[in-house]
Symmetry: C7
Subunit: 72 residues, 7 copies
């Protein structure tokens, strides 16, 4: 197995991603950094409710254990 | 015991799998990569609701701790 | 203490088992492999609802942290 | 502190115990083996509902993280 | 910091304690042993409901991760 | 980064603190000891309900994983 | 990948941050210290309910596993 799942995140650096969190929260923003715990640093980040932008966070740090999925 | 459960995932690389996540979410897609935490990289991934495709994610990274089961 | 709980699983390899998962899900199938995290590889696996077969998964990988109990 | 909690389990090997699990499930059976994760191997095991035997499992493997308490 | 929280438990050995568990369960009994995971061995243990004794367990092993608090 | 969050707890030893626990429980008492898991030893401890003292625990050991926040 | 998510926290030391916790709790305050578990030390900290200040904690220690996100 040559590929690793984290390669997908590495290729998404400086690109816009959608983050789905446990509890239903969704955040869209520019992925600036991640680590092995899946802690994330996003910029221009907005929380989405029913697909609509609700809260503009600007920069945001997300603790990795809340993440369900990340899609570029 | 010669077999290991991860052999099943290894044989599913580049094949379509159905992922059932905690909280009821289901995702169908092409398995591109996994790791020992069961983090997954899927492509052509769609979220299913009641067996119907709902959201087309394209590429998606799933954090392993959300996984209940994976079936090729 | 000479016996270890995993001996029970080892003796169940290639036999039919019933798996009870957190959240109420039950799966019956042939146990092909397990590991120390209780990750499982089942074949001819069916999900049960109220004791009736509901979904035929064929081969399935179950992430160990979802398991409540396994009975041969 | 000379005693260790696991001594209680060690003395219960081959004796009948009542296991109370998270989520309200209760199992009564003969304790054949345990390990440090509190994984259990029970025989002649029955699930109890409101103190009444409901399901006869025979042999059962219980994943330790589900256990609340064990009483001989 | 000279004191350690576990000193409190050490001093409670062979004394009656009240254990409050996640999910609302309360157990009163004689503390015979504990370990670093907060696994407990109690004797003369009774489960309390609304402050009233409900179930007499005699000896009981409590898995440490269920504990909220212990008070001598 | 010179400061560490635990310095705040260290400075609170022998002072009154309010502990907010998961599940809504609040305890006010004198902080006697803590460890890296945030296990706590409190004295003169009272459980609060709606800001009113409800149960006087005297000495209490709190398992660290229940803690949300501690405020001196 | 040169950036690390924790750089964002490091740059937020001595600045006001908004902390969103599991269970819906939100706290606004001055970030004085953090560690790798995301334990936090805040000062001039206020709990917010529906965006309004509700409880003035002054100094507060937050256990890291409760954190969903932190935004400067």
């Amino acid at each position: 197995m040559e590929n690793r799942p984290f390669d997908l995140l590495n290729n998404a650096i400086n690109k816009e991603v959608l983050i789905v969190l446990k509890g239903g929260r969704q955040i869209r923003g520019l992925l600036k950094a991640y680590d092995v715990h899946m802690n994330l640093h996003l910029e221009n980040a907005n929380e989405l409710v029913d697909g609509e932008m609700k809260t503009n966070y600007g920069k945001v740090f997300v603790r990795g254990d809340n993440v369900i999925l990340i899609t570029p």
